[in-house]
């Protein structure tokens, strides 16, 4: 297998982007990544696009061809493939791109992710997100997506003594990071009190425990590492891309306090990279809910099970500590346009590893990890990226 590098990244601002359509988001992110990679366009061999539910959100399916077309690539007839695994769609699209380059099938691959969520009302938007869970045996019986995570939170509190304040501290930290990211949906710090007092969504979680509804797009350009210097002086190496799955329903898991797919994907990724959790300086993890980040940093092996809440409250994952988690602001503050999220995580890691993260720069960043989750942990993709010295 060939080694793979990222030679360009791009993204849109995340948020309520009323004047942008799904195709605008995909194209703006894609073109900026292509521009960043110093490509003219005709070198592109293939496109992979992460998107969860364009059909439900905008009544448009077949968006692989759509984005390829409006990126000006229709006459090049490149293979354009949409990838779907709910919240993990973006991370999974990235993995497909990496495999395509690693295998020698393609040289220059663009991986994009986009979601246009605000073209539907809030209630419908929430219902669409819940389609990532088991529609027939969870959602149709009244389990909303926040409620499933709230049940994880309550069980985590019950089994490990995790406190409501510790859970809320994830939101405080990620808003703090988001305030340093000019592309984040929320660039404002919040107080712990505000999280605790926010409108209840699904107890014990409130509105400030949940990632927002967002529009956005993100894209990266991949090529074989050996050819990367042709396009950029600062290539970033893909050290590992691993994926795992689990039962679709949360109820069918052995434990409600773990995402085993995260643990397995992380083990596979660390093995592939020849690294251990302690070698990682920054991680973008899937904090669609505050509790999700606590599970993530435990299941990835950064903290022992049950200690993630305390570690967060103690600032052990805040920018400036040994491990910085969600320097972009995470899904919570940067925003969570579902299909774009997994790609946006990679974009943030690349900016950090290139030393271009400005005020939120992790000093001495050598290795970064991204964890992207679909549903309540039924699909997890873990990527590990490294600086090329």
């Amino acid at each position: 297998m060939r080694e793979v590098a990222i030679i360009g990244v791009g993204d849109t601002k995340f948020g309520e982007l009323w004047d942008m359509s799904l195709r605008d988001l995909g194209i703006q992110a894609g073109l900026s990544a292509v521009y960043d990679a110093n490509l003219s366009g005709d070198e592109i061999d293939a496109l992979y696009l992460g998107n969860m539910s364009a059909g439900k959100f905008t009544e448009q399916e077949h968006i692989g061809a759509l984005i390829s077309d409006y990126s000006g690539l229709a006459r090049d007839h490149i293979p354009a493939t949409r990838v779907e695994a709910a919240g993990a769609s973006g991370g999974l699209a990235f993995r497909q791109g990496v495999m395509a380059v690693a295998s020698g099938m393609h040289d220059i691959v663009v991986v994009g992710g986009a979601e246009k969520m605000t073209d539907v009302g809030d209630t419908l938007s929430t219902e669409i997100q819940a389609m990532a869970a088991d529609q027939q045996w969870e959602t149709s019986f009244g389990a909303t997506f926040p409620a499933l995570h709230a049940m994880i939170a309550r069980r985590h509190m019950h089994e490990y003594g995790t406190t409501r304040e510790q859970i809320a501290s994830v939101a405080v930290k990620n808003h703090k990071h988001g305030s340093l990211n000019p592309k984040a949906q929320f660039q404002k710090e919040i107080k712990l009190e505000s999280v605790l007092r926010s409108l209840p969504v699904a107890e014990p979680l409130g509105m400030f425990d949940c990632a927002p509804v967002s529009d956005g797009g993100a894209a990266v350009v991949l090529c074989p590492l050996e050819k990367a210097r042709k396009y950029t002086d600062t290539p970033v190496k893909v050290l590992a891309s691993a994926q795992a799955s689990d039962t679709l329903s949360l109820a069918n898991r052995e434990s409600l306090c773990r995402f085993d797919a995260t643990t397995v994907a992380a083990q596979r990724a660390f093995k592939m990279a020849g690294l251990e959790p302690k070698d990682v300086q920054l991680a973008e993890v899937h904090d669609s809910y505050t509790i999700s980040e606590i599970l993530a940093i435990e299941d990835l092996g950064f903290f022992p099970k049950g200690k993630g809440g305390q570690a967060t409250a103690d600032g052990e994952t805040t920018l400036g500590s040994k491990l910085a988690v969600n320097t972009s602001g995470g899904l919570k503050a940067r925003g969570d346009p579902i299909g774009a999220t997994g790609v946006a995580q990679v974009v943030e890691l690349v900016r950090q590893l290139r030393g271009e993260a400005d005020k939120r720069q992790v000093s001495g960043a050598e290795v970064g990890l991204a964890q992207n989750v679909g549903g309540t942990g039924a699909t997890v993709v873990v990527q590990i990226l490294g600086r090329v010295n």
Binding site: G142, T144, L148, V201, P204
Partner: protein
């Protein structure tokens, strides 16, 4: 038109019909055609198995932001229940006072309206839990 999609699951939605692996004896709900433990050996040996309908709450949430189907019931309670047979089921707990909820409480199933296809549409019935 979700009529057939719900109708074909009525046995499980009304009467908690799951499956039991004829090889290892493990019980599953909803029904499965392959046992995740026995794999190939279990094919053709997964038998229908009816749960008694009693269990214990493993975790729960009080839902304030409800889907349109449950707008009239909010805040409502959703839970994951460990059934006496070992399987876990996600469902609403009804007829319960919110301050009486706790992890470990005993519940049993009953039949209630779960959703409908609008005022002129079909009503979908299914299990919900109530305190014992």
């Amino acid at each position: 038109m979700a009529v057939a999609r719900f109708w074909r699951e009525n046995a499980s939605r009304y009467n908690l019909i799951g499956t039991k692996c004829g090889v290892c004896g493990r019980v599953y709900f909803p029904p499965r055609s392959v046992c995740p433990t026995c794999h190939r050996k279990s094919i053709g040996k997964m038998e229908p198995f009816k749960l008694k309908g009693e269990g214990e709450v493993l975790t729960y949430s009080i839902v304030h932001e409800a889907p349109s189907q449950l707008e009239m019931q909010k805040p409502y309670v959703i839970a994951i229940v460990q059934m006496d047979e070992g399987v876990r089921i996600t469902g609403q707990i009804i007829d319960v006072e919110l301050d009486e909820l706790k992890v470990g409480m005993k519940v049993r199933t009953t039949l209630r309206k779960v959703s409908d296809d609008g005022a002129a549409g079909v009503i979908h019935y299914g299990y919900k839990f109530m305190p014992v």
